[in-house]
């Protein structure tokens, strides 16, 4: 097997990975970026609304970084590490300024400075944006910048697993998808910037590639996931493509209706109606569908037609585009089909504010792959893009410091085993196909570890996922092609998804309270006495080991979360 050596390997070419690579390369270290897609195809491109930033001299006159910390902590239902939220907030302005200096085409005020707008959960407006394609714009800007540096890109390389030698991370084994030939990448540090895991759920706004490979690799290497039970669901994803229809659609007057034409939110939230919090609306929609008042396929309708063509086109351009192009529905003339869908993963590889994992020296993570605990139990809009860049940079700088004090590492003794494990699926002559297992997994997660949770469902999920993991050992890849064999990579993705699923289901069962996005029908209240703490979960064979870690509170004491 070919052996390549770098100072750092970054797995993932989205915003977080590229920002990390930028810092490492700028400091003169040798860095490889491995990504299973060409970098600009990463899920960062899907972010719509914007990036929150307090910019000194270019913000609301009443705003301050302190307000931004407060909004983030409260939004996260107090499971936020407040020191992390402070970094996020205090460094937001310089991050936007940096991306602007690299050419990002932020929308402008008439004097040519970056414009701002309101977003949900903000006391003062501070979201910076590029039309409604902010993620796409920033991803391209940073790729343009980093591809001009001395960084080696390995695009369409699938990372199989981390290499661990002497209880520290010493590289990865990856495979070029085109030629299917594996290679060892030796490195003193590995940064997981592999994004989220929406594909675990039957319905998700995430890209097809979001299979949470980094979470699974970290678990298999012996690192913990932090707060794995926290999964955010968005109430209005377009049926059936699950493209996000922004909350703005309801903010501007859109009404949710069931198959009888009833405005059902009157039952669930008589005061706030369609503008009730995301979790409330998601639960309402799913209840309507479960009780037979949805449409075939399992959706309800989001009606904008009464707003008038001019208004809709002016205010909700993206809803119009999405409806027309992806559902064949013109929201000016007919209601949009919507249903809740998984949207974001608050949990992730356990790291501190420098992106370092405490279990394995040399292991770092950034972006949605990491859990720095800036989002706590529920992420605020406009904070995910910001996190990728702020903590991508923090992590990159921490990696540089780590490298400066790092000794040469010993080669991993047996990297071939990683390849053999992966190839076991191809070598087998019969068994199950990835598609069969995947469908069941995504259904189980959606129904039993989804918006509504309770002991019965979660127990059922744990045993189902455990069973699926056993079945998947016998997975069988029918495609024998030695070029771009996507069936093989799908099988590996499924293996990764199963490793996370068991952890998510088990920790969700374990947390007997409701907080943020984790809603337990049998424990509907937040319980700070018992549960104001982070979950840490390890995967040891088939067993999930759970421990805890305190939440870092600097100045904002928990209070009831009312809006």
């Amino acid at each position: 097997m070919e052996k390549l050596n770098y100072d750092v390997v970054v797995v993932g070419g989205g915003l977080a990975g590229l920002m990390t690579a930028h810092e490492v390369a700028s400091a003169g270290f040798r860095v490889a970026v491995l990504s299973k897609v060409f970098p600009t195809r990463s899920h960062s491109a899907c972010a719509e609304g914007g990036i929150a930033a307090y910019m000194d001299g270019n913000s609301d006159p009443s705003d301050s970084p302190e307000f931004m910390v407060y909004d983030t902590v409260k939004g996260g239902d107090y499971l936020v590490d407040q020191d992390a939220a402070e970094i996020l907030s205090y460094k937001s302005g310089e991050i936007v300024r940096l991306l602007e200096s690299w050419g990002a085409l932020f929308n402008r005020q008439p004097d040519g400075r970056v414009a701002l707008r309101y977003f949900g959960g903000q006391t003062y407006p501070r979201t910076r944006f590029v039309g409604d394609k902010t993620g796409m714009a920033l991803l391209h800007t940073i790729y343009e910048r980093v591809s001009g540096l001395n960084v080696d890109f390995f695009s369409e390389w699938f990372t199989l697993d981390l290499l661990v030698t002497d209880r520290r991370v010493t590289g990865v084994v990856a495979m070029e998808m085109k030629s299917m030939s594996p290679a060892t990448f030796g490195a003193k540090a590995v940064v997981l910037a592999t994004g989220g895991n929406g594909m675990l759920y039957q319905h998700t706004t995430n890209s097809y590639i979001n299979t949470g490979d980094g979470y699974a690799m970290a678990l298999r290497a012996g690192a913990a996931l932090k707060d794995p039970e926290f999964v955010q669901f968005h109430p209005t994803a377009l049926y059936p493509s699950d493209i996000l229809i922004s909350e703005a659609a309801r903010g501007e007057g859109g009404i949710l209706k069931n198959n009888k034409g009833e405005r059902f939110m009157t039952k669930y939230a008589p005061m706030k109606l369609d503008l009730a919090p995301r979790d409330v609306v998601s639960r309402a929609i799913l209840t309507e569908v479960a009780e037979g008042r949805g449409f075939p396929g399992g959706y309800v309708q989001l009606d904008l037609t009464h707003l008038g063509e001019k208004y809709i086109k002016e205010r909700l351009a993206l809803a119009v585009e999405a409806g027309r192009n992806f559902a064949g529905v013109d929201p000016v003339k007919e209601p949009l089909p919507v249903r809740p869908a998984q949207h974001y993963y608050m949990g992730g590889v356990d790291v501190d504010v420098s992106g370092a994992n405490p279990d394995l020296p040399g292991l770092f993570a950034a972006g949605e792959a990491a859990c720095v605990s800036v989002h706590g139990a529920n992420r605020l809009g406009s904070n995910s893009l910001l996190e990728t860049l702020v903590f991508g940079r923090e992590t990159g700088q921490a990696v540089v410091k780590f490298l400066e004090n790092s000794k040469e590492v010993r080669d991993a003794p047996n990297p071939e085993k990683v390849v053999d494990d992966a190839y076991s699926f191809v070598k087998r002559e019969s068994g199950v196909h990835f598609g069969e297992v995947m469908k069941e997994l995504r259904k189980t997660m959606w129904e039993d570890v989804g918006v509504f949770r309770d002991e019965e469902r979660l127990k059922r999920a744990v045993s189902k996922v455990t069973e699926l993991r056993k079945t998947a050992v016998n997975m069988y890849v029918t495609d024998r092609s030695k070029t771009y064999n996507t069936e093989f990579f799908n099988a590996l993705e499924l293996r990764n998804m199963l490793d996370q699923a068991v952890v998510i289901a088990t920790t969700a069962l374990n947390r007997t309270e409701s907080r943020g996005a984790h809603y337990r029908l049998d424990f509907p209240k937040r319980d700070d006495k018992q549960w104001l703490k982070h979950t840490l979960a390890y995967l040891r064979g088939n067993t999930v080991e759970i421990t805890y870690k305190p939440v870092k509170i600097t100045k904002w004491m928990p209070e009831e979360r009312v809006y």
């Binding site: 609301d60 006159p61 009443s62 705003d63 005020q109 008439p110 004097d111 040519g112 414009a115 701002l116 707008r117 309101y118 006391t123 003062y124 407006p125």
Partner: protein, 121 residues
């Protein structure tokens, strides 16, 4: 032009800074001139393009969101952007004085009520 605008601002009792040229990047010829001003309940800047277009930024803490308030004002200038305490107007030198006076009196009125305005919504 710059002098005329400065004197309009001074006539409503604002302090005005000297005009400075602005360009897209260092070393590029300026595309506009700017002056900062400070009035009683608000402050901001005047942005004057080389092509003659005139923009005015009105900043205040007295308004939670200009977007909800501009409808109540009968401004002659065009509202280009209104978000939180920031308001951008495209102005005409002849109409500037009237608009600024209107804003001054609107803020003076709402200032007396600002204590009771809730910040939570």
């Amino acid at each position: 032009m710059e002098e005329a605008i400065s004197s309009v601002l001074k006539s409503i009792g604002a302090e005005v800074s000297p005009w400075i040229p602005v360009s897209e990047r260092p070393g590029k010829e300026p595309f506009a001139k700017e002056a900062e001003y400070k009035a009683k309940d608000y402050w901001g800047k005047i942005h004057l393009r080389n092509t003659g277009e005139l923009y005015v930024l009105v900043v205040t803490k007295a308004v939670k969101n200009w977007k909800d308030s501009v409808g109540k004002l009968n401004l002659k200038g065009r509202v280009v952007d209104a978000v939180g305490g920031l308001l951008w107007l495209k102005e005409n030198p002849e109409l500037l004085k009237g608009d600024l006076e209107m804003i001054s009196s609107f803020l003076a009125r709402s200032n007396t009520a600002v204590g009771s305005q809730s910040h939570s919504r």
